[in-house]
């Protein structure tokens, strides 16, 4: 065993650091650090900078314009981005739709859509969840009925992240209701500007409005926007869900969060001493740090196996659960750290958020605490993950 990065990996890390150092603007990293909302242009600029460097699509094969990094390189990149408070790369086109098109799309779809994703011509969003189908995707009810060279789509999608910025959405729709629940589902690409589509923001408990409901009312979609075969959409959706989960553990986010907690706990005072020297707080912090050190290693172990060509099994479910629990504990520590100053409601939609006095802006950490309750709910809730783990354990297939 060799726990440390190879010289090549270290050189790569230096390269990443130098790039981040040169490319990130403080006005943007400051917003990320304080969990303030980004402008659409903040995302777009970062997308363009990465594209210019050829680092936008680490997971894409070279033939489609990807960087084709090793799993360890991707891990290094993600971790460095998180520690540098880089904006996240909007994943819907790059890490979700892209691989599906590469595997199941027609040559025409590949040559039209993939470059547009890289160039940032389209802003994609995701239409999976429905009000009646949360963890139970097979229950989805949005229908597409074929009329000549068009599908006519009716129904409602929900939890569509950043849908307010998107001009395209990829959707799971029901094309056959006679068959068993998971069959009869198709994978459609839909232009958000088609008549009959309405987007409504959902305000979350922290006042944020990043997720949306999307309504479809007799929306016409050309048949060439069907990916793969009709009624095979479930297969593509599963591929998308199990594929590309290298960052599921969120190690970089957790490390950045832990660093932020430590900063806070050194400047907050409990009596004469900084909070970080209070035994109970220090114990909470240390326990999470120990858990995180172990999880980061688990993550690397799994990555290194993936690099060696082994398919990730229930380990990604394990990382999802432990990763979200750790990140939520860090958010919990963060609000504890600021003590009485956790109470201001500093919604991300407040326009003068950069002008708020520091003491009041501390309330932002509570918003993050509430917002990140979502981590254990979305992307396959932790209950679903436990179910997967247990099923495998009792199936004997470890």
């Amino acid at each position: 065993m060799q726990l440390h990065y190879s010289d090549d990996d270290l050189a790569f890390r230096d390269e990443v650091r130098a790039f981040l150092n040169a490319s990130l603007q403080e006005s943007v990293t400051e917003k990320v650090r304080l969990a303030l909302p980004l402008e659409k242009t903040d995302y777009e600029n970062w997308h363009a900078a990465l594209h210019a460097r050829g680092w936008l699509a680490p997971n894409w094969p070279k033939q489609f314009g990807g960087a084709q990094w090793t799993a360890v390189q991707r891990h290094i990149f993600e971790e460095e981005c998180a520690l540098a408070n880089a904006p996240r790369v909007v994943p819907f086109g790059l890490t979700m739709l892209g691989p599906v098109l590469q595997k199941f799309g027609s040559p025409e779809q590949q040559s039209y859509w993939l470059p547009r994703i890289l160039n940032g011509d389209d802003w994609w969003c995701q239409g999976y969840s429905e009000p009646g189908a949360g963890s139970d995707l097979a229950a989805l009810a949005t229908r597409a009925v074929r009329h000549g060279d068009h599908y006519v789509v009716n129904g409602q999608k929900t939890w569509t992240t950043l849908g307010q910025y998107a001009n395209m959405i990829f959707c799971l729709v029901r094309t056959d209701s006679e068959v068993k629940a998971q069959e009869g589902i198709s994978f459609l690409l839909i232009d958000m500007n088609t008549p009959g589509i309405e987007v409504k923001p959902i305000v979350l408990i922290d006042g944020s409005a990043e997720v949306n409901e999307v309504w479809f009312n007799d929306v016409q979609v050309p048949v060439e926007n069907l990916v793969g075969e009709e009624n095979k959409g479930w297969t593509y959706a599963k591929y998308l869900l199990t594929h590309e989960r290298t960052n599921i553990a969120g190690v970089g986010f957790a490390r950045a969060g832990l660093a932020a907690v430590k900063r806070l706990a050194r400047s907050e005072y409990a009596g004469e001493k900084p909070l970080i020297e209070s035994p109970l707080f220090a114990a909470r912090l240390a326990e999470i740090e120990i858990d995180l050190m172990a999880m980061a290693t688990t993550n690397l172990r799994i990555l290194s196996r993936a690099s060696a060509g082994q398919a990730p099994g229930i380990e990604s479910s394990m990382l999802k659960v432990k990763g979200t629990v750790i990140r939520q504990s860090i958010n919990d520590l963060m609000r504890r750290a600021v003590g009485p100053h956790a109470v201001p409601f500093i919604s991300e939609v407040l326009e003068d958020s950069m002008q708020i006095p520091d003491a009041v802006r501390n309330g932002r950490v509570s918003m993050q605490y509430f917002n990140n309750r979502k981590l254990s709910i979305y992307g396959g809730s932790n209950e679903i993950q436990r179910q997967i783990i247990a099923k495998t354990a009792f199936g004997g297939g470890r």
Binding site: S129, R336, H341, F345, A359, S366, F370, N382
Partner: protein, 362 residues
């Protein structure tokens, strides 16, 4: 031993529950009309109640309905402070508080005090013919609607238990500036700056106010815990209703054993919280050590249970629990934010340990 409410307390509870269930927005006026504030004070101060259990009954209902009026910070906390230190000199003001005519705000916490009640850096100085207040107060709840501020200050820099004075200052005094904000748990507060605010010696309610502050905060701790208890009851019934109704994979969520066992654990802890509130309420009139020992026990336990119930309820609801439109989030914020007022679970655990070193019979 008797764990039943008195007939008066039960009537008060029924009235409140009915009234708050139908009220929209502020309930201050109806609360005043029903004499609810009077229930928070003993007859000696013009009230009709004032025991720990009276307070617990009122705040459990306020929490259950997620009422946003500043009953805790203005009526109870400031009211008890006035009652403790100035019931004779300011009997009229006290009467106005009991009747709900006037609102106050307690300007005590400072940017660096965290949860310590004895940490006061705000100064009171003699300058020429007058006294001036200078300093910065944090999280002054209800500052926006308060006619008066109760301001703590020292005439020397000593950070000890003595020499903390309490001033009654009209909120519109020149030299006072405020930065207002809404609070996650409901209601509003402000950061308040005092810059050479002139006061007279008649405005000084007490030159040594810490024992009174501790007593009023002890009542606030009971109230806060009862409020959280009430909020948790609502959350639990929302959660069991939702799980009993919402279908997934073709059957109600309630039939999924992994979820239902978690609900069982939440219900067990809710009973624990109820007992802790009863203990704290029942010892509010005890000697300070016994009183604070039970107060800290309750604040710690209710804080832990609150976190469990708030987090688990959101998780068990799934996505809908994250939305602002659904009422759960409002309650979850109220419950979690309660831990940031009057000392959090760690502060109270440490205080419990410290107080436990004092020999006593509790």
């Amino acid at each position: 031993m008797n764990f039943e409410l008195t007939d008066e307390q039960r009537m008060l509870q029924d009235t409140l529950r009915r009234m708050l269930a139908s009220s929209q927005g502020s309930a201050w006026q109806p609360l005043a009309e029903q004499g609810v504030f009077a229930a928070l004070f003993s007859e000696q101060y013009g009230g009709l109640g004032g025991s720990g259990f009276d307070i617990a009954v009122v705040f459990e209902e306020l929490g259950r309905a997620a009422t946003i009026d500043p009953v805790l910070d203005s009526a109870l906390l400031c009211g008890w402070l006035i009652a403790e230190v100035a019931s004779e000199t300011h009997s009229e003001l006290l009467a106005d508080i009991v009747s709900g005519e006037v609102q106050l705000a307690f300007a005590h916490t400072e940017p660096a005090s965290r949860y310590a009640l004895s940490h006061v850096e705000t100064t009171i100085e003699q300058r020429a013919q007058q006294q001036v207040l200078n300093g910065q107060k944090s999280v002054v709840v209800n500052a926006r609607c308060a006619g008066y501020l109760l301001v703590s200050a020292r005439d020397e820099a000593a950070d000890d238990r003595n020499c903390i004075a309490l001033y009654l200052v009209p909120a519109n005094c020149s030299g006072i500036s405020m930065y207002y904000y809404e609070m996650s748990g409901g209601g509003q507060a402000a950061e308040v700056t005092f810059e050479n605010v002139a006061v007279s010696s008649a405005d000084c309610l007490s030159a040594d106010a810490l024992p009174a502050i501790e007593s009023a905060v002890a009542a606030a701790v009971v109230a806060q815990c009862a409020d959280t208890l009430g909020a948790m009851e609502t959350v639990m019934s929302m959660t069991t209703d939702y799980l009993g109704t919402r279908q997934q994979f073709g059957r109600p969520l309630a039939t999924f054993q992994a979820l239902s066992h978690r609900v069982a654990d939440m219900l067990i802890e809710l009973e624990q919280a109820r007992s802790a509130v009863i203990l704290a309420a029942g010892h509010l009139d005890a000697d300070p050590v016994t009183r604070d020992l039970h107060g800290s026990a309750a604040k710690n336990l209710v804080g832990r249970v609150g976190q469990l119930i708030a987090e688990e309820s959101i998780q068990l609801h799934g996505g809908i629990g994250m939305t602002d439109e659904y009422q759960l989030g409002k309650y979850a914020r109220r419950i979690i934010m309660a831990d940031h007022r009057f000392g959090d679970i760690d502060y109270h655990l440490e205080r419990f340990i410290e107080l436990g070193k004092t020999p006593g019979d509790f």
